[in-house]
């Protein structure tokens, strides 16, 4: 989907974001190392677009998502939302900003309080931010939103376990929508769903984006979904963005070897294609002790000596960039 003109500006800019987790050991539990889950991320999310964040498990994409919303505190860097740095706002202002940024998690069962009625779960954000004057008004809005996502508002007094997986995920979406956010992090939000339900969900998300002018950060490992939904794609490897670009560019002409490998590994559904994927060596190294130089070089089929020595910079071009010294122009 093309962003509407005049909306070109960045809604969210991430500058050098770093979220490390200390490793404690020894008698005194001193910090002996750091898990570099998010390690110097630069990322722009444009208003109204869907940016997909792709990577394998453990690459730090969920941590990045949480860091953006300050559900996890970062050590360094800025997250500029509408120009305001989320990382340094005082707690009382943060509350107002939070309303603009929401998140939908992967497992809808874990994301809903099993002992809260659906209505209460949805209305919680509204109560917290004082949206709606009274309960009745809020209930009204809950009903409207539920209707909008294809849920029966009469079921709002039910508990999460009384819904199917797909319905639960819709409830999660409604809950996020209820506070009128501008930006939603979708953390593997459709990955756990069956194909038929996934399709419903993706359609719904697209519809909502159009209707409410939302911006999505779509975190996933499923490249098939990315191809379908994303405007732009950022590929993450070991806490860093290795390639960023428009969806077309990434899928048509990936520039980073890791991106190429990732794409080739997706088993195709096309009965004509039964290709052998590109070989990749070894396993993902530990984020507490990342390799020197380019983080991908120990597994890279194209690596040369220089790769192990210097860490390539991410190109900063408006249409995206790549973090590889060998990347073709």
């Amino acid at each position: 989907m093309n962003p509407s003109p005049g909306d070109k500006g960045n809604l969210l800019e991430v500058r050098g974001l770093r979220t490390w987790f200390p490793i404690r050991a020894g008698i005194l539990q001193r910090v002996t190392g750091q898990i570099r889950a998010v390690d110097g991320i630069e990322l722009n999310v444009r208003r109204g677009e869907t940016l997909a964040l792709v990577g394998e498990s453990g690459c730090g994409k969920s941590t990045l998502g949480y860091s953006l919303l300050r559900l996890i505190e970062s050590q360094e860097g800025e997250v500029l939302f509408n120009g305001q740095d989320l990382c340094s706002v005082p707690p009382d202002e943060l509350k107002d900003l939070r309303r603009k940024l929401q998140i939908v998690f992967q497992d809808p069962m874990a994301a809903l309080n099993p002992r809260s009625r659906v209505r209460d779960s949805i209305a919680e954000g509204m109560e917290c931010f004082g949206i709606g004057n009274n309960d009745a008004e809020r209930t009204q809005r809950v009903a409207e939103l539920m209707e909008r996502v294809g849920l029966d508002p009469r079921q709002m007094d039910r508990y999460p376990h009384e819904f199917s997986g797909g319905q639960r995920q819709r409830i999660c979406v409604v809950r996020a929508l209820a506070v009128e956010p501008e930006f939603i992090v979708l953390d593997e939000s459709v990955s756990a769903l069956d194909v038929s339900i996934q399709a419903q969900m993706l359609n719904l998300l697209q519809g909502l984006q159009e209707e409410f002018g939302l911006t999505y950060l779509f975190i996933t490992h499923d490249l098939g979904v990315v191809r379908y939904i994303a405007d732009r794609v950022a590929v993450m490897y070991l806490g860093q963005i290795v390639e960023e670009g428009s969806a077309d560019q990434i899928f048509e002409s990936p520039r980073h070897p890791y991106t190429r490998i990732l794409l080739s590994a997706v088993p195709s559904v096309n009965p004509d294609e039964r290709t052998r994927p590109l070989r990749v060596q070894g396993e993902v190294p530990s984020p507490s002790n990342p390799p020197s130089g380019c983080r991908f070089h120990p597994r890279c089929p194209d690596a040369i000596e220089r790769c192990s020595l210097e860490m390539p910079e991410l190109e900063t071009r408006p249409e995206g960039g790549v973090r590889c010294i060998l990347a073709p122009e």
Partner: protein, 331 residues
Amino acid sequence: MTQPLLELKDLETSFPSSAETVSGRASVVEGVTLSIDAGEVLALVGESGCGKSVTALSILRLIPKPGRIERGEILLEGRDLRTLSIPEMRKVRGNQIAMIFQEPMTSLNPVVRVGDQVVEAIRLHEKVSRKAALARTLELFEKVSMPDAKARLRAFPHELSGGLKQRVMIAMALSSHPKLLIADEPTTALDVTVQAQTLELLRDLRQEMDMAVLLITHDLGVVNQLADRVAVMYAGKVVETGTREDVFRQARHPYTKSLLRSMPALAKPQEPLYEIAGSVPVPGEWPAGCRFVTRCEEGDDFCGEEPAPRRRLSHSHACWCHRVEGVQDES
């Protein structure tokens, strides 16, 4: 016609259900009839809860209590596994039919070294010394391309990554040259790159060892990569069987068709995805007739009344649908 390696006839497996039924039980798998020839890969596809895993577990009679097999035959080379005694059944498991599971993280015993777990599998079916078994294990580890195989023999499961654990599982399954490997969602929990490696490994191994594979998955991509034949399941019943080409190119059952159409990978980004309305009904609340009738665009009232018959479309292709024209089987 040669005898198939494994034949399921009218298999029905039930679990206790909270739904209001007469017996308090609901059949999760009903009337499943399938066959696998030696050396063939049959993929059993369906969404979660459609009964594909239960079918697989029923074959090995590993249905956890209080579930039980209600009726049907499970013929392995003509011998009905349901009539075997427990010790006899034990000889089939892991020996003639081996199985690997979805979650390599939890499927290995966390307190036993992986090498020993494979050794145990070998020695359960063959009277060999521990040492010999260990040597065999090393061979197997090399066969499944386990990097640094020798050192890995002494590793504990938690010291291995998911992909390597799945390789251990595969090595364990292959330890006694089974005729049939049941792979229950073998790659679902793995990352794409590791999935690709694992699929490749499976493909190579089955050619090399000439074994049949019953591949259980919900991922059509995986099916496309590995399967010779495909059986699509919906709500406890098989709705369509055929070769890979049959199913992917000429799917006839409305469910199969909509499944393929709702794949985002096959869709064009600008168009809305095809949606199957509603969700899979819960076991025990399945419609009396064709089970897809509640979500089917093509169905009518009649479909809901009577179970759909098997319609043969070609020698390899069959479909259970009232709406599909074809040769109805005599049964």
